[in-house]
Symmetry: C2
Subunit: 348 residues, 2 copies
Amino acid sequence: MTPTRPTQAVPNTTVAEILERAREAVLPAMRQAVGQLAPNIRQLVSYHLGWADAEGHPCSAPAGKGIRPALAILSAEAAWADPQVGVPGGAAVELVHNFSLVHDDLMDGDLERHHRPTVWALWGTGAAVVVGDALATMATQVLLSTPNPAAPAAAAALSEATAEMIAGQADDLAFESRRSVSVEECMAMSTAKTGALLGCAASIGAILAGAPPATVRALRDYGRHLGVAFQAVDDLLGIWGDPATTGKPVGNDLRQRKKSMPVVAALAAGDDEAKELGQLLTAEEPLTQEQVERATWLVEACGGRDWTAARAKAHLDSALGCLERARLSAVPRRALADFAVYVVERES
Amino acid sequence: MTPTRPTQAVPNTTVAEILERAREAVLPAMRQAVGQLAPNIRQLVSYHLGWADAEGHPCSAPAGKGIRPALAILSAEAAWADPQVGVPGGAAVELVHNFSLVHDDLMDGDLERHHRPTVWALWGTGAAVVVGDALATMATQVLLSTPNPAAPAAAAALSEATAEMIAGQADDLAFESRRSVSVEECMAMSTAKTGALLGCAASIGAILAGAPPATVRALRDYGRHLGVAFQAVDDLLGIWGDPATTGKPVGNDLRQRKKSMPVVAALAAGDDEAKELGQLLTAEEPLTQEQVERATWLVEACGGRDWTAARAKAHLDSALGCLERARLSAVPRRALADFAVYVVERES
């Protein structure tokens, strides 16, 4: 397969076009990396990525939007490099992202992703553990086999972000069985769980381009704020999103008693409705459909929905501020800004 | 904590002394790495490593022998470097080894290790997944934060070995539900699962010492053969070992229907006793204690025990041959040879 050379960012490109261009640019690197996995692991990874069905026959199933590869490529261009420079970074971050999805689905007991059974649901715990482990390891291999003198620094940045993401996931897991979680703890968890890897995606292209530390830092901070905004929107969609669009069952997060931003903010209101919500979410028995609906109403009545939407907007503004601060190439800077707005306005 | 400077290898040191010296040399680097983990992950890692009890109180519980750190340090010295040069490699390989133990215990459903409950048995699936992920990531961080120009090459070698180990674990898992596994498949799995990481341990010190490729290759091949010999002995102990010494229940491997070397070799005998063994190991119901004892007898009667012991001896000889081939410093070369003999003669 001949690697596709990504076209450069041009003015007035839509976010859909940016995502499409990044997916195409990173796909050959992803295919090459996955092709190096042992056959029995490769088959499960191909299924997870939407490239094959459960029997291993090639298909084109719905998968992720590819937000991280797009950020990695724009980040290289924002640092005045060729988009191709960001490709190994985009592939590596996407591999880490997918490792986290496979392990998270197992830990959260989620049966479906993008309307398809998850890896653990189809093949069991052991398979999901192994597939995630293989993806995480391959991410480091992709970067450390890249003939770019900045590749070890990029690998170090990715490891650091991965460690932070794992710590965030550990907190998220611990919060589910805790009675109370403060708003600060919840925001710190979201920054670690989602912000760290988006911060890495948004700066790894600049690292590979050999950009100065201040540029790398500004792009990383942009990505971290974007990540928190992204998580806020994800948490809103996890309660009020349209299941047909998000691919997740309605009320899923409440049913799992996830201490997501809207819930934590609502519980912090401290009034009678917050107390009722707290009782619902700490009951021994699984929630009925009616209770899930009542909890949904209570979260909104306690201001959890508005508060979370305001956090999304505030972190979007901070992300845009980081772009203004940095010395970046104009066209990719504009694309990164459009990207941030898209992330907050998306409905899936 | 002031890092302990490891003493250099001296003639006529026993293997117990070599292991002790390596444990002491690598401990500060391990403590520093674990200290950087998020508190809720750190507590579980400290428990797993035998540094703390389940409540987080410091203790000194039995843990691994530290074979991999010892190999890493001897490998630096064999390449005429200071033992300290091998320390980050020893710590990183030990972290990867422990990541694999935590995930393997979960995948295999093992409830105890070193006479203590395993991480998943105490804290559940999610915790075990997260702890393993954090250890694996920390291994890369340790190497990529080492101020040694050869550190990225060491990290690349470790990632490659980790990927091979994971593929071996995937095969091991798949073999349990397969009716038949060939002797060749079983040996390839053991080479991947155990040989790859021991090969990395035995060469990573030389990589960090900037040794020529031929030296690195010879040490890696020594470690790979040692790994297969180690696995052969492990498989023998998994059936005939003294539970008081190994820390694992008797007949554990047979009860789990593990396609370990003795079993696969016995099944390959093809006679009536092999057929009886095959029927026992494919029965729907869990094996009774009597059936486990019968299976143990059958594996021996079919020659599985002798065959495996012969493989251990053959790979020991190959390992020693690799040491002869390479241009190595004499004292650590002698220690590496003693080490290989110890691994094959050990009883736990």
